[in-house]
Assembly symmetry: C3
Homo-oligomer: 164 residues x 3
């Protein structure tokens, strides 16, 4: 029955890719609720054991240290005002058991009767598939401040190979 | 043919979950266009017959009353300025015929030459699968204002069972 | 084997629709990184050869002209400040080899220590499936400014047929 077998194999491969995309959306959609509710375990568990979060204030290595991002004075002051880390629908490229997601993050915080955009940054998430699911191996964030650093992160995601 | 049967069953189960996630994204992506265009029927039809929308200004019970959220003076003044209810990519947990989606909503409204973030709030959507598709049974919104209410909604979505 | 055949056929049809939705999310998530990194080829390649981008400043016809949207003085000044074109999770309706996606776009740009919402607009993307994937045939953007134009774009997406 080669026909059924080949159809099943094609279906399984395509379905796996769809599930991977949805799992990566879910991972990224978990970040905001985790940090904005001060859920240390939830933040920590998004990363691999030795995962890195490279942010403008410094490089955090290992998921314990990444999780402690919620303990900074800056984070505490944002949470006290009311803050939302809102991640955009990411661009995703999957290659087997690794993937790269690229997108924006806005941090909104209350200021009087409206909310300010405290930060807009771009994020590159390098992900790996472990037995327990997709995890962050390396995430880099750069402020959207007109310097080359953030444009390079965005451009790398959408580069057209033939045109280089 | 146990092998083909079990593969088909696994595929059907996983595909259903993927379709459910995509249907819930679609439902949530419908809310903004519905309220911002004053489409009463479209707003109403997102909820179940007896669905609830629990917002800071009060609790709306039944989809007729929920749909009339577009008739408030506040909503009319926002629409007159130009407003967008922009929902974030939600975190979703599906359990059979029910699901919970958690995310953020920003309301942007024009003010002179730029737009203000009039409101940032967090939303928990309790959904049910009916014969006509996924509908909102209960949705609660709380302002992102530094009080415990919004953090509890976010934290509930990402709580790590083992760590409690 | 009618049973297996009909199950496979149903699976293939549903999986195609899920893949189409995910491919359209990916296309839309590519736009911001493309324009914000000044990636002409990447912007251009989102459109069909004769695709149109109808924006408040004028109608751009053909993907070369669409790609040159990054060459305007307005775009250059935004990029110099640091800017993010952030597209919302879109509402999508697929009909065979065509699709319509509707959603919001916010342009955030740095201003001192925070970011301003320079523009909030609504977007209707008319898409076609080509051999190389989904492409934009026609995209229209209208400012969220309280005029009827943007409400019409949003309302058209969510209109309930039975209620008209």
């Amino acid at each position: 029955m080669p026909d059924i077998e080949s159809r099943l194999a094609a279906i399984e491969r395509k379905l796996q890719e769809a599930e991977d995309r949805l799992a990566i959306y879910q991972l990224i959609a978990s970040y905001g609720p985790s940090v904005d509710s001060n859920s240390f375990e939830a933040v920590k568990n998004l990363w691999t054991e030795d995962g890195v979060y490279d942010i403008p204030s410094g490089r955090r290595v290992g998921r314990e240290e990444v999780g402690r991002v919620i303990e900074t004075d800056l984070h505490k002051s944002l949470v006290a005002r009311g803050c939302g880390h809102v991640l955009s629908l990411p661009h995703i490229v999957i290659s087997g058991d690794t993937a790269v997601a690229t997108g924006y993050q806005n941090v909104f915080a209350r200021e009087g009767k409206t909310w300010l955009v405290e930060r807009t940054s771009v994020h590159r998430w390098e992900l790996v598939r472990l037995s327990e699911g997709w995890k962050v191996k390396h995430r880099i964030a750069r402020m959207l401040d007109g310097t080359e650093a953030h444009r390079a992160i965005l451009g790398r995601a959408v580069r057209v190979p033939d045109s280089q």
